[in-house]
Amino acid sequence: AQRVTQPEKLLSVFKGAPVELKCNYSYSGSPELFWYVQYSRQRLQLLLRHISRESIKGFTADLNKGETSFHLKKPFAQEEDSAMYYCALRGGSGGYQKVTFGIGTKLQVIP
């Protein structure tokens, strides 16, 4: 079974402080990991995924297979980063896929 754990439902940080949103997963095969973001009154949208290894809006995430983690980080939080963040895992074989989301972490950046 595949599982995604986001231990914090709410994370409050001051503007300019570093941010780390935690995500741990459980999956026996080779997963694909994602971070999605939902800003207030907007649709859920992809922020980044591990295979692209890029930085989006200053956020990065590294897949650590040893610790089964995919934490999202940003060195300096900005007010516009306030949103819901969901970690997700896609697994399966061939064309048969299943996607599992975590419960989500609400990031609140305090001015």
């Binding site: 995604v4 649709r43 859920l44 949208q45 896929q97 299943k98 989301f101």
Partner: protein
């Protein structure tokens, strides 16, 4: 392109009734996935369809079914509604199925079961 569209936006049903939710993918996208998001939880995967075939199924009872049409739009059907089916139902489309294809989400349909 307006992106993924879903209809209706909201609806209220009574326990035991049946409901059909609709999704139109982004033009050119051939895969549609459905998710249920209960308040305070992350989206839960229900189905994925690609080229009108089921390519993924989550842990939902047989009361939930879906289909994809030749124009790649999709319907999600839920029979014998329960109070616990009250949720936001999200549709997402992607160019293809399998790894590496980015999903684009619709605004969702808010279903309330009374």
């Amino acid at each position: 392109d307006a992106g993924v569209t879903q209809s209706p936006t909201h609806l209220i049903k009574t326990r035991g009734q049946h409901v059909t939710l609709r999704c139109s993918p982004i033009s050119g996208h051939k895969s549609v996935s459905w998710y249920q998001q209960v308040l305070g939880q992350g989206p839960q995967f229900i189905f994925q369809y690609y080229e009108k075939e089921e390519r993924g199924r989550g842990n939902f009872p047989d009361r939930f079914s879906a289909r994809q049409f030749p124009n790649y739009s999709s319907e999600l059907n839920v029979n014998a509604l329960l109070l616990g089916d009250s949720a936001l139902y999200l549709c997402a489309s992607s160019l293809g199925s399998g790894r590496s294809y980015e999903q684009y989400f619709g605004p969702g349909t808010r279903l309330t079961v009374t």
